[in-house]
């Protein structure tokens, strides 16, 4: 029993962590008024950069850092399009989703001659390798990214609601003209937020390839950026909400693992779709409508009324 509980928690946290980073990235960008469907693409870049950085430096932490940096650099494309050129944010986000995996694979081929990297050293576990071995508590010896993800969520909550930068970011997402008249640089704020969102999404990608699997492959991210996007909306555009949405989703995945393998008499394919159905049910029954920041998705034009 205890074992099953810790197992469920451990797997939930494992599944949810890359989503947490992605969703936090989406949250910060959208709170500043820039819709970011490009999370998936940014995560792909991070997934690659994390492994490449580790491969080159031998230190997974440097790789993790590299993932953040590369995610941020890649996000500059979106920031340029959405903030500087006031392009349609949906279209540029989709473009990033096409570019991200494409570039990642292209670079991977140049690096390793194939679309898959060799295995690299992964990030350590929270309590070190093999702690609590053979006890139910071993299940709770999660990846260090889990802690970082939680820390990032808490930090973002703190920044958004307790600091002046947060106040400004939120004002820019709700009423950019008001912020502008108070001397807040709307474009710069948005630009920075989009880049931060790329950094976080990049870390999310790396927390797949450096914690869950310790190598890069085409399928490392496969759709998790979109789930993260859903978590942003599900979590009503707040860091704490998105964090919980990711946990819920991770838990649904964990349930299919715990319930699978003949524990209940359901075909495994049907079990596999459970998380997605569960998400919809929770949305319909408990969450309902969520309202985006008012200026989300609208390019800011000085003096527009």
């Amino acid at each position: 029993m205890l074992n099953n509980v810790t197992l469920l928690i451990g797997i939930t946290l494992m599944y949810s962590t890359p989503l947490v980073f992605g969703a936090l990235g989406g949250t910060i960008s959208e709170r500043s008024g820039v819709v970011n469907i490009g999370i998936e693409g940014m995560m792909n870049i991070g997934a690659l950069a994390g492994v490449a950085g580790t491969y080159l430096s031998g230190d997974p932490w440097l790789g993790f850092l590299a993932a953040g940096v590369c995610g941020g650099v890649f996000a500059v494309l979106h920031a340029l399009a959405a903030v500087v050129f006031r392009a349609d944010q949906n279209v540029s986000g989709i473009a990033l989703n096409l570019l991200g995996p494409g570039l990642a694979l292209f670079i991977a081929r140049l690096f390793w001659g194939g679309t898959q990297s060799p295995a690299v050293a992964g990030l350590p576990k929270v309590f070190g390798a093999n702690a609590f071995s053979d006890t139910p508590w071993a299940n709770l010896n999660v990846d260090s990214t889990v802690v970082l993800g939680l820390a990032a969520a808490v930090a973002m909550w703190f920044v958004l609601y307790k600091t002046k930068w947060g106040l400004r970011i939120r004002s820019v997402g709700e009423h950019p003209a008001a912020a502008d008249t108070l001397g807040i640089n709307v474009s710069r704020t948005r630009f920075v937020c989009v880049v931060i969102s790329g950094v976080l999404a990049g870390l999310g990608g790396a927390s797949i390839t450096l914690a869950i699997s310790s190598q890069f492959s085409i399928t490392a991210v496969s759709g998790q950026g979109f789930i993260a996007l859903a978590a942003v909306i599900f979590g009503k555009w707040t860091p704490q909400g998105s964090y919980c949405a990711c946990l819920l989703f991770g838990m649904a995945q964990a349930l299919t693992v715990v319930l699978g393998g003949g524990a209940i008499a359901v075909p495994s394919q049907i079990l596999a779709l459970l998380p997605y159905v569960l998400t919809l049910v929770v949305l319909v029954v408990f969450v309902g409508k969520s309202v985006a920041p008012k200026a989300d998705g609208t390019p800011y034009e000085k003096g527009s009324r």
């Binding site: 074992n3 810790t6 197992l7 451990g10 797997i11 494992m14 599944y15 194939g114 679309t115 898959q116 295995a119 992964g122 576990k125 390798a129 093999n130 071995s133 139910p136 071993a138 299940n139 010896n141 797949i208 869950i212 699997s213 310790s214 190598q215 492959s217 085409i218 399928t219 490392a220 496969s222 995945q253 964990a254 693992v257 715990v258 699978g260 393998g261 003949g262 495994s268 394919q269 079990l271 596999a272």
Partner: protein, 339 residues
Amino acid sequence: ATLVACGGTANKGGGSTGSAADGGGTYKISMVTDVGGVNDQSFNQLSWEGLQKLEKDGGVKVGYTESKQESDYPTNLDRAVDGKNNLVWGVGYAMADAVKTAAKQNPDVNFAIIDDAGDTSISNLTGLMFRSQESSFVAGFIAASQSKTGKVGFVGGQVSDIVDMFEWGYKAGVDYANKENGTNVTVSSQYTESFTDEAKGKAIAAKMYSDGCDVIFHAAGGAGKGVIDAAKDANKLIIGVDSDQYRYAPKNMLTSALKNVDTAVVDISKRIRKGEKLGGKTITLGMEDGAVGLAPEHDLMDDKVYDAAQKLMDKIKKGDVKPPANEKQYDTWHAELEK
């Protein structure tokens, strides 16, 4: 058995290996991957590595095309034919239909398909099959013999005939060990529903280990990477698949159930190039042919177990033990064993 053994031994083709002597230009071989892509760390990759080896040996030019979706199979095969290739490999049972159609349409090009029986009525198509249940059987035997907890696990990718060979061969091997050793080791088995979802592989394996399994065998392609990772985290044993996966986890990799697609591809390609009439035939390779087997490293294995496994392999090679390849065969096999 549904398997038709033809061809037989691997290295008796006649003639030497070094052969730029076939006259004319270079011999061209192309392969078309299934949707797994050329770096799937499974049969696509092994096939490609085999072909590259072939090219290095000289006289042959090789190439590949990756399929992105099922509807790419016919057109990619088509292009391979247009590229004036003498031999075209279709990798994976998923391509069976497309390869058969292409072979019928292009009678003057040789085709070969991996993991499918081909079609005896098509004279330019060679099917290449592996008796993976044989190596899985030994893997099961080793797992059960090595287990201290009396529980072992199997993690599959997506249910299919090929993965069935691994699962039921493995289960039979465990039964066999139970009978030999007088133990009662049980197998838990679970599928990731994906050949790529490493997280799921890891989660399932973590669950099995924390449920008390101490050895897991995986046949889950890329998702198996997660299984290996889980073994490292839990400090438990794991049995790899397809190629020797020792390098991924030297401290945990008990052994690997090999499926030497690369050597088989090299071998068949050479024989077809030599002009051997393999068309219309299914070549089924097993342990006896060296096409499936176990990885050499055994530093984590008890010597007793290793020796017993070697003996078991001899028996399989001789045909004294015939592991089952699917659930139905397993049931009959199991009933017989109980007797």
